[in-house]
């Protein structure tokens, strides 16, 4: 049954004594937007956790998208460390030492792949065609694995940074997918895991913004897992 909200049908969640929705509380979709005893109106859309990293987002009672998550916030890794002034105020960040490992985006993206349970391979295992990259990311996310992705951030066509895929969201109406990624290039987890860190497939290329510096990344290679 697909129903448009002409008559005000909404999602409701059990509420506390102050009328606030209880996180993790029972959820229902029901006719009308009127107050319901013991429940709080949480709006027209709702994301339902189906377990195993899979969630479904509904607009009213229509399933609109499905998200498969392979990295959680605790899996994020960074190549940066904070820099302070003499008064202890934060002045920015710098690459960790040693730069060959801890301070290296390739290394930290590989660590994130490991956190998903897979092992990213060494050199000579890159996929360079867009179709091949999409197929491989789909295959690995389907298996619950993150993959290491090389990107160009200055538009010169060369891969100059590495990130790790964190989830795939499939639009169930169009059957198109977008891919979120975790970025080790910032010192802050809220930026490195920001929900807008997203690759889209457009005109034969995979690209998208990273939130911490607002640059657009274009995928140049996807590194295979073991």
């Amino acid at each position: 049954m697909n129903i448009v909200d002409l008559d005000g049908m909404d999602w409701y969640q059990t509420s506390d004594k102050d009328g606030n929705a209880v996180e993790g509380g029972a959820v229902m979709w029901r006719d009308g937007s009127d107050a319901v005893d013991g429940y709080s109106n949480i709006g027209t859309s709702y994301t339902m956790d189906l377990g195993d990293g899979v969630s479904m987002t509904y607009n009213q009672n229509t399933p609109e998208s499905m998200t498969e998550t392979v990295l959680n916030e605790g899996d994020w890794e960074t190549q940066r460390e904070l820099v302070y002034d003499k008064n202890g105020n934060i002045t920015g960040s710098q690459n960790k030492q040693p730069v060959e490992t801890e301070g290296n985006c390739f290394y930290q993206a590989g660590q994130m792949v490991s956190n998903s349970g897979a092992t990213s391979l060494g050199g000579g295992n890159d996929i360079n065609t867009t179709d091949g990259q999409i197929d491989y990311m789909n295959e690995q996310i389907g298996n619950g694995n993150s993959v290491r992705v090389q990107v160009d951030y200055n538009g010169n066509g060369d891969g100059d940074h590495w990130v790790a895929t964190s989830s795939r969201t499939t639009n169930l109406q169009t059957q198109t997918s977008t891919y979120n990624f975790y970025d080790p290039g910032t010192v802050w987890s809220d930026e490195g895991t920001h929900h807008t860190n997203t690759f889209n497939v457009n005109n034969g290329a995979i690209s998208g913004p990273t939130h911490y510096n607002n640059k657009t990344y274009t995928v140049t290679a996807v590194r295979k897992n073991q």
Binding site: L82, T91, G92, S93, S189, H194, T196, H211, Y212, N214
Partner: protein
């Protein structure tokens, strides 16, 4: 040379000096006009949100760099603050009580080897004499960000967000920040005066436009 010839030559020289005596006001005004040409006209209301601030940083190299001969119009304190600074022309704002107001961009590497990009509002009289200036929008990645908004009454708002370490595990999806909101007005003599300042610390959610307050800091995490 006879005395008569000498006096004649002296008279001609003095006369000529009088004729070619530079009119500094005219020259300065002309230079000031040249300086203003590189600024893009901007009407009100005017806003530089997060996206615009990062756009300013990422595209700084494509903006017009103020050439040495026109740097006389940059406030001395700014020029001396970081000698490696590049100054670029951004916007000329609507004239206010015969006061010319511009936004200039300063781009430099600070003593901690961090790139700092910030803009300054500078007020001038009609001859190009600096009346006042004030830092407004800018960013140093992973440290601070500031946004700007000016309404049609020339009320200038600056929101500054400074990072603090987030120690609450369950709040990791948020940014722990000190938010300082400033409000300025420009006086009739061109001074940029702070009229309001509020500070709060808490957890904020970031998007492309900026940061939105989510909740205050728990007492125990202070």
């Amino acid at each position: 040379m006879t005395k008569l010839q000498y006096c004649f030559l002296l008279l001609i020289s003095v006369s000529c000096l009088g004729l070619i005596k530079p009119n500094t006001e005219v020259e300065t005004k002309s230079l000031f006009e040249q300086y203003l040409i590189a600024f893009k006209g901007q009407s009100f209301p005017f806003k530089m949100d997060r996206k615009a601030v990062f756009g300013m940083m990422n595209n700084a190299d494509s903006l017009f760099e103020i050439k040495d001969s026109l740097k006389i119009f940059i406030p001395e304190e700014l020029k001396n603050s970081y000698p490696n600074s590049k100054f670029r022309s951004l916007y000329v704002l609507p004239e206010y009580n015969n006061i010319i107001v511009v936004l200039i961009l300063q781009d430099f590497i600070n003593e901690y080897n961090m790139r700092v990009v910030k803009n300054h509002l500078v007020s001038y009289n009609k001859s190009g004499v600096v009346l006042d200036y004030q830092e407004l929008a800018g960013v140093t990645i992973d440290a601070w960000e500031a946004y700007l908004e000016i309404n049609s009454n020339y009320i200038i708002k600056r929101n500054l967000y400074q990072r603090r370490i987030n120690v609450e595990k369950e709040e990791m999806k948020y940014a722990r920040l000190i938010e300082t909101c400033f409000e300025y007005t420009i006086s009739t003599v061109g001074l940029i005066e702070e009229t309001k300042k509020t500070i709060r610390e808490g957890y904020f959610e970031g998007d492309w436009t900026g940061y939105k307050f989510v909740k205050p800091i728990k007492e125990s995490s202070n």
